[in-house]
Structures are given as structure tokens and as C-alpha cells.
Amino acid sequence: MLEILRQPWPWYIAGPLIGIMVPALLILGNKSFGISSSLRHICAACVPANIPFFKYDWKKEIWNLVFVAGILLGGYLAFNILQNPGPVLVNPALVSDLNNYGIDNFNGLVPADIFNWSALLTIKGIIIIVGGGLLVGFGTRYAGGCTSGHSIMGLSSLQWPSLVATICFMVGGFVMTNLLLPYILKL
């Protein structure tokens, strides 16, 4: 049994199970599925700095912080008990593309060639690790949600603004991957 669970789960198993998070949270306590809000609650709890956007009772949303703590724990458990026997099997075309940029290690979930502590001393590392994080935090809050809040929760409840947001996420991703990232990886 454990052997089967250790294999990567195909999309038609994992996708519907992720979708079930939507009704699960609603039925558990009327909570709308969403994760980026947790970043805002951290701001409101730790550095509100008198900014009106962070002046609210974050304790009322503590469920969201508990939920993301669970995600962290889940990541730990999955990695230590249910880890894949081999690296993530990606398209060979991607492997040869990335080899051109000096990315040879495909073992982890993130490329060890980019995401490591000493990379923080390089321009490339700072752009990807810090700049990317800033864009994720700023962009998700500006858009009012992330892949979970808009693309899964919003689309599931047929909210057209969430469709607009999802299309923009994809456009941004295509532009970065195909037009900008090749230059950044060369740095």
C-alpha cells in the first residue's frame, strides 16, 4: 500500500481530491478556500504599522493560519513518509532546455542549482528567490486571491472576476517563462 502511495499521484486522482478541499472547508465551518490571505494575516498580526489595510481583528481569521500550518506539516509528512522513489519525471525537452542554463539537478521539487542559500549572494538568486516572492505576495493581494482563492474557489463558485484573474495569472506566467526567464537564467 505504502509503495503505491509513494508513487507520484496522477492528475486525475490528485486534482479531484484538491477540488474536494472547497466543499470540505465550507462544510467544516463556512470557510472559503484561499491561502494568500494568510500572508495578510501575518502582516496584520506582526507588522500592522498603523496601515488601514492591516487594521482588523486577524484573530477572527486564525483558522487560515492554522490551515497553512497544516500545509507545512503535510509537506513535511509527504516528503518524509511518502517520498517519490525517483526525481519528478518531466518532459525531456525541458531537461535539455534547462541544461543550457546550467540546471542539471532535477532531484528535488525545486532546482537545487537555483534555490540554495549561497544563491542569495548572486543577482540571479536574488531576482528569483526574493523578487519572485515579492511579486507573489504583492500580486496575489492586489488581485484579491491566488490560485486557490481565485482559480479553484472562485471558478468553482462561477465568479467571473476570478476568471479574469486566472487568465491574468496565466498570461503573466507565460510572459515570464518564455520572454523574461531566459535572460534571468543567463545572469
Partner: protein
């Protein structure tokens, strides 16, 4: 003269009361402003009731790892149209969510505490365009949206902590600049 002073005091007090009243009652509006994960429940529970969300989070975290959607390489494949995997995961998740919400509405399903389930409609603003594009750029760079950031950190990729803290900083910067940004 004295009378007008009294009147002034009276109005000032009224204003004060109104202000505190507003602060209390706008909390829900401020909290739900530009928000996705929203607490709709009016019930007050002991703290340990939150354990159910910890369990839900653990399951979601395991799903994120085992479906490989938190893999930087999978995100690259998606945006290079080199694999169907990510589209399959997100697409089937949305279809499952849609059917679930349709069933919840049709059968007026209640929460386990007997509350009616409510969904707040989303209002369109330009932030969904500008913010969406910015997030898309960051998603492709880091290979992670906020959920996966927590899960990857859990798998032990410690440098992702810097990405997560940068994301908190990005959210904070948005809060700081919010009034000056087009919405």
C-alpha cells in the same frame, strides 16, 4: 456662548461614538477587502476546534506534494506547454469544486455546526488584472503560489523561507501603497 460650547461637546461625543461604532462594524468589511480565504461563520468556538483546519491543511499539503504541483519543473512545463499534468490537476480540481458547490446549493447543505453555507460574490476591480499579471510573473519565477510555498518549506527546502518572507513583505507593501494604486 455656553450653550454653543455644550452643543459642540455633544456633537464631538456623537462623532466619537459613531467612530468607534464604525470601527467595530467595519471590521468584517476590512477583513474581507481583497480577500479570498474568508471566515463566514458567526459562531464562536473554543480554540481547539481549529484542529479540524490543521487536519485539512495536512491533507492539502500532502496532496500538493504528491501531485507534484509544487515542483518548479512542473510549473515550467505548464508555461512551456510541454505537459498536460498541471492543466489536468487544476482543471479537474475546478470541475470537482463546481459540482460540489452546485450540490451544496441544490440541497442547501449546512455546516457540521448547522449554519447555512454562504458564499460572498466577488466584485470586479482592475486589481484582478494588474495584480493577476504581477502574481503570474512571480509564480513562474518561484514556481510556487502561496500554498506551495508552505508545503515546499515543509519538505525541507529551507531557502524557500526567504521567498515566503518576501511574499509577506510584498503583501505588506501592497497594504502600504493600496490607496495610490488603480483599482
Amino acid at each position: 456662548m455656553e450653550k454653543s460650547q455644550e452643543l459642540k461637546d455633544h456633537f464631538r461625543d456623537q462623532e466619537k461614538i459613531q467612530k468607534t461604532f464604525l470601527v467595530h462594524n467595519t471590521d468584517f468589511e476590512v477583513r474581507t477587502l481583497d480577500a479570498s480565504g474568508i471566515n463566514e461563520s458567526e459562531l464562536v468556538h473554543p480554540w481547539w476546534f481549529n484542529i479540524k483546519y490543521l487536519l485539512a491543511g495536512i491533507i492539502f499539503g500532502i496532496l500538493l506534494v504528491k501531485s507534484e504541483v509544487i515542483s518548479w519543473f512542473r510549473i515550467q512545463e505548464m508555461f512551456r506547454l510541454q505537459s498536460f499534468h498541471m492543466y489536468g490537476v487544476i482543471g479537474s480540481a475546478v470541475v470537482t469544486g463546481m459540482i460540489s458547490i452546485w450540490l451544496i446549493k441544490k440541497f442547501k447543505v449546512k455546516t457540521i455546526h448547522g449554519e447555512p453555507i454562504e458564499l460572498i460574490p466577488r466584485k470586479f476591480n482592475k486589481g484582478q488584472i494588474y495584480g493577476g499579471l504581477l502574481f503570474g510573473l512571480g509564480w513562474a519565477l518561484t514556481g510556487a503560489c502561496p500554498g506551495p510555498l508552505y508545503a515546499i518549506l515543509g519538505t525541507g527546502a529551507s531557502v524557500i523561507l526567504v521567498t515566503l518572507l518576501s511574499a509577506v513583505a510584498g503583501t505588506w507593501l501592497y497594504g502600504l501603497m493600496r490607496e495610490r494604486l488603480p483599482h
